[in-house]
Every structure is written in structure tokens, then in C-alpha cells.
Amino acid sequence: MDPSEVEFLAERELVKVIPNFTHDKIYLISGDVGPFSAGLPLPVPLWLAVNLKQRQKCRFVAPDWMDIDVLKEKKQEEADSRFFTPMPSPHYMEITQLLLQWGTDDIPKADEIRTLVKDIWDLRIAKLRSSIDVFVKSGESHAKLNYLTLMEINTVRLFLTKALNHMHQLKSVTSRDTTNSNSQAF
């Protein structure tokens, strides 16, 4: 899957915005949004938030977790744990990316946030690589991947599935042969 498609899925997540206009509810196919009152924060899907922002109709409100202290703690927790820790949002990377791209002024300490989120990402990806290595060496046939986010899964998807398919094929050459040895006729 292309990362832009993961972003597409992330755009369904709700984020808070403060509109500078007043409008009744909008009845979208995917659900109702609004009513909008100028100055009052309300949750909207991320794709709509970005759209409103681009038209200068709102300000973003940083999600609770998009905060220096929260993220520093999260980073420490991730570094201390052998396992993947639960992330505050299943799409933390995409939400950070979009909010910071379009609304740097709305997010306090945007640069530090960006760096911290990237640090957490890097820690998790490094962890992902070593667990993949352990997994492949163990020869196990399945693994539980709780708390991995879709964007993280997606960066290793092709590589990991290919490697495991290859291994499965190597493991099954012996067993496949006994069932199949007479089927090849010329």
C-alpha cells in the first residue's frame, strides 16, 4: 500500500478545530459534522480539518498527546520497554505530519513536537527491525503485533511478507514433495 493511502485512512480520524464561522450541521455521507460556532472548538474528520484550514476557515487544536511533556514521557517509555508500547493515536505519524504541515502556527512548539514524534518513530522502527530478525531466525510461523500502527506495518509490509513467504516455501519443499512427486508428467 502506498503511504498516501495510509494517510487517506488516517484522514478519517477526528481532530478538534476552532472555526471562524457559524454554520448548521453538515450532513455528510460518512456522518454529521457540526454545528459550527465561530470560536468554539469541535471535532471534525482530519480531511475536513485540513480543507477548512487551507481555506482559512479554522485553527487547529493540538490533540492532547501532541504536547512536549507527554511526548517526552512516551519516548522514554518506548526506549525503556523491550516491547512496543501503545501509541496515543493509531495514526500518530500521519496526524502529526498533516497538522504540522498546514498549521504550524496553531501547534505550540511545533518543531520540538516534530522532532520528538520522529524520535519515537525511529525508536519503534529500530525495534521493529530487530524483532523481525528474531522472528525470522526463530522460524516461527506467526507473530502477534499489538500496538504496531498501520504506517509502521506498511513500511515493512512488502519486505516482511516476501521474506516469510520465501521461508515458508523453503520449509515446505520437503513436505510438498511427498504429496506431489507423481504429478509432474511429461
Binding site: R55, S141, H142, A143, L145, N146, L164, N165, Q169
Partner: protein, 225 residues
């Protein structure tokens, strides 16, 4: 007329089982998005979700009618348009993935459809089935004209079973568990390993081979991610 009438509609859809379920538009959309991802990641062709696709297309048409009644410059127009574009993307990507699979697994999907002929749960839509048959014929004609006609008769009769491209059901997939499921057979017993059984807990994510969980994808017990 305002756009309100569309969003509030409750939709009657007949589920695969006999029960009739009323789903709201957001629920249908959610199901369609799930079907799209399942289709994207499954190595095999899944039963078509025509009702979901048609329902969303109807919604789009109704919404477009409503948009046309809005005054030019209404703030809602671009919002609705954007949402329609997003849904259209999901629908076309879903259908394209299906066509791509039908092209690469042609004989296999035609055989599978044959097996399901008497059941309600068809594999392909009528249009897809027609495409599959046409494509199958075109490929055979092409192979015959370019190669088989120029070969000795004995070598020129391909064994349909041998040349059929089968889906690799042993491919690894990522999945998320939607419903608690006990005793999932992850690995069958082999000469040098015992069988492996696992319990799936709602919300868990796994990576494993497709074959053992194929039926759970169809029933909705797990989603591919």
C-alpha cells in the same frame, strides 16, 4: 431541498445471511472500506460486495443532486464534493483490485464461481463474470494464434489444470481481530512439528499465513490490514 435528506436515510440491505439489517450510510461506508482493504491484501478473490458498492453509488448520486440545488458559492459544496471524491476513490480502487485479480487468476476464479453457482453468495458480479469469461477467451485465442498453432499437435494441447495460475494462499498477511475467536488452527500438524492452535482476542493484530484465516476474513471475524 437541502442535503439533510440524504445523510439521515436508513438503508435496507440484505446481508449474506437471511437476516435483514438496516445499516446507516456511515456503516455502509465503513463496511465498504473494510472490504476494500480485505480485497487489497488477500491473495485470493473475495466474494463481491455489490450491495455495498451500489448503495454508496446511490448515495453519491443523491448527494450530487442535492449539491446541484445549493446556491453557487455555498460553503458546503466543496465539502460534499471532497467527500464524494474520497468515496469514489475507495470504490474504484476496490473494483480495480478485483479486476487485477480476475486477470491474473482467471481460470481459478471461474472455477470457484462455478462451485458457488447454486449458493446466494456469488464470487463475482455479473459484469465481472462477463469480463472474466471474455478475458479467458482472449488469452486462449492469443496463446493459440501466437504459439500453439505453430507447435506439433501433441505439444499443442495445454493441460488446463497445469497452466492455471493459483493464488498463493500461503502468503503472509497482516490482520486485525474483530471478534473473539477461539481455537484458530494456525499451523497444521506436520512431520516435524505439532499443530498450533491460538485464541484470537478482539483488537489483537497478527501476521500469519492467509489460508488458516481465509474463512474468518469472509465472515468478518478478522480484517486484513
Amino acid at each position: 431541498m437541502s442535503t439533510e435528506d440524504v445523510g439521515d436515510d436508513l438503508l435496507e440491505t440484505v446481508d449474506d445471511e437471511e437476516e435483514e439489517e438496516a445499516m446507516t450510510a456511515p456503516e455502509v461506508l465503513h463496511k465498504l472500506e473494510e472490504a476494500w482493504l480485505n480485497e487489497k491484501f488477500s491473495p485470493d478473490l473475495l466474494p463481491v460486495k455489490s450491495n455495498l458498492v451500489e448503495c454508496m453509488l446511490d448515495q453519491i448520486v443523491a448527494m450530487e443532486n442535492n449539491i446541484s440545488t445549493l446556491k453557487k458559492g455555498d460553503f458546503r459544496i466543496s465539502v460534499h464534493r471532497m467527500e464524494i471524491d474520497r468515496i469514489r476513490y475507495v470504490i474504484s480502487s476496490y473494483l480495480r483490485h478485483r479486476l487485477a485479480k480476475i486477470e491474473s487468476l482467471t481460470t481459478h476464479v471461474l472455477q470457484e464461481e462455478e462451485k458457488r453457482r447454486d449458493s446466494e453468495n456469488v464470487l463475482m458480479s455479473p459484469a465481472e463474470l462477463e469480463f472474466a469469461k471474455g478475458y479467458c477467451n482472449s488469452v486462449m485465442t492469443h496463446l493459440t494464434n501466437t504459439a500453439l498453432d505453430h507447435m506439433p499437435l501433441k505439444a499443442a494441447t495445454p493441460n488446463a489444470k497445469e497452466i492455471a495460475v493459483l493464488p498463493n494462499l500461503d502468503s503472509y498477511v497482516f490482520l486485525k481481530v474483530n471478534e473473539n475467536t477461539e481455537n484458530v488452527l494456525v499451523e497444521e500438524e506436520t512431520v516435524d512439528a505439532r499443530e498450533e492452535i491460538m485464541d484470537f482476542e478482539k483488537g489483537d493484530q497478527h501476521i500469519m499465513r492467509y489460508k488458516p484465516i481465509a474463512s474468518l476474513v469472509e465472515s468478518g471475524g478478522v480484517s486484513l490490514i
